[in-house]
Subunit: 199 residues, 2 copies
């Protein structure tokens, strides 16, 4: 398969690319580096990228940041930052990608653990993840041409555990190898409308 991986240079994206790259042709998409670049928060930028990059059998997104901070001092702008980046970035990739994906192809988005196992300061991240999980659940029954859509929802990655030390008490970090395999389940399997958790 010819597979586009957005965010292929991040921690999660590298895990997806390492696993899928064993059997498929990977085209990388980044904010500032990769085979192609785009600002996923801009529908125009995403459309321009697809016009150059062509058609894919699978589109995988491992992108997006959310806001971490106490709810009591959170501003609407901080909350919207996470919505625009991690939710709309990935939704924009799907909406534009619908014209650039082969019949029977798949979309795989990335959410995360915080809407099933919340932490302090994680309300924005939970909301964004909840939106992504619900989006793939409902979008799956509204896709044409045998297209599929799932989300991978990884726990805290081993590679990130040091960086977030103290913020995720009691969370068991997961290996990037296990996270990578979850993307293969979505791309190579037949599931649709599912959240594939890695805990």
């Amino acid at each position: 398969m010819r597979i586009l991986i957005a965010g292929a240079h991040g921690t999660v994206g590298k895990a997806a690319a390492a696993e899928l790259g064993k059997r498929h042709t990977i085209i990388t998409l980044g904010r500032s580096k990769g085979d192609f670049t785009a600002d996923l928060m801009s529908p125009e930028s995403v459309a321009a990228m697809f016009a150059k990059a062509g058609t894919f059998d699978a589109i995988v997104s491992c992108t997006g940041h959310t806001y971490f901070g106490p709810l009591a001092t959170m501003t609407a702008a901080q909350f919207m930052g996470g919505i625009n980046d991690k939710l709309m970035g990935q939704v924009n990739l799907v909406l534009a990608g619908l014209k650039h994906i082969a019949d029977g192809g798949s979309f795989t988005l990335t959410s995360g653990v915080l809407n099933r196992d919340p932490i302090r300061q994680g309300a924005n991240s939970a909301a964004v993840n909840g939106a992504i999980d619900a989006f793939v659940f409902a979008a799956a029954i509204d896709l044409p041409r045998g297209l599929r859509i799932n989300a991978v929802s990884p726990g805290l990655l081993e590679e990130s555990a040091k960086k977030y030390e103290g913020f995720f008490p009691g969370h068991q970090p997961v290996s990037s190898a296990r996270v990578g395999v979850a993307y293969a389940k979505s791309v190579e399997g037949a599931l649709t409308g599912k959240v594939i958790t890695v805990d």
Copy 2:
């Protein structure tokens, strides 16, 4: 209790106001009518409203529209419309309301059935509902002063069934009386971080 109900003149808001009004003082908030008015999509407008309206024991939100339409032709702007209206409107009410709610008070937001029982053309609505449900789940453990937060997630209301005929095949409409009681469970009970479904 002194309870603010945003969207008190809508179908769901009327149900909440009818039930809670039996035992509490209801202050209504609307886009263009009510005891107070505000544009919930504007943090400044919400803050200005609270400066006039004072402090509440419970803040209930029954507001927000989402976009309905096929995913294949949905635009980013249409998707964002639902995010801005139903998600950010309610989040703005919580973020600003944190300064105007009594110790031990509660927030009750409104999501809806489409992220647990999806329909065609409902992907935006599902994403918004999923974000709201996940937000209250995670926000509950990050609230100060014994504050609580829940969401009521009603099925298709009997009052709306005619309007949406054909869009919700097989959905069993729920009575507004049952929906109203769900708001009492959140406001008068001790739950927090919960999605109270009415199916």
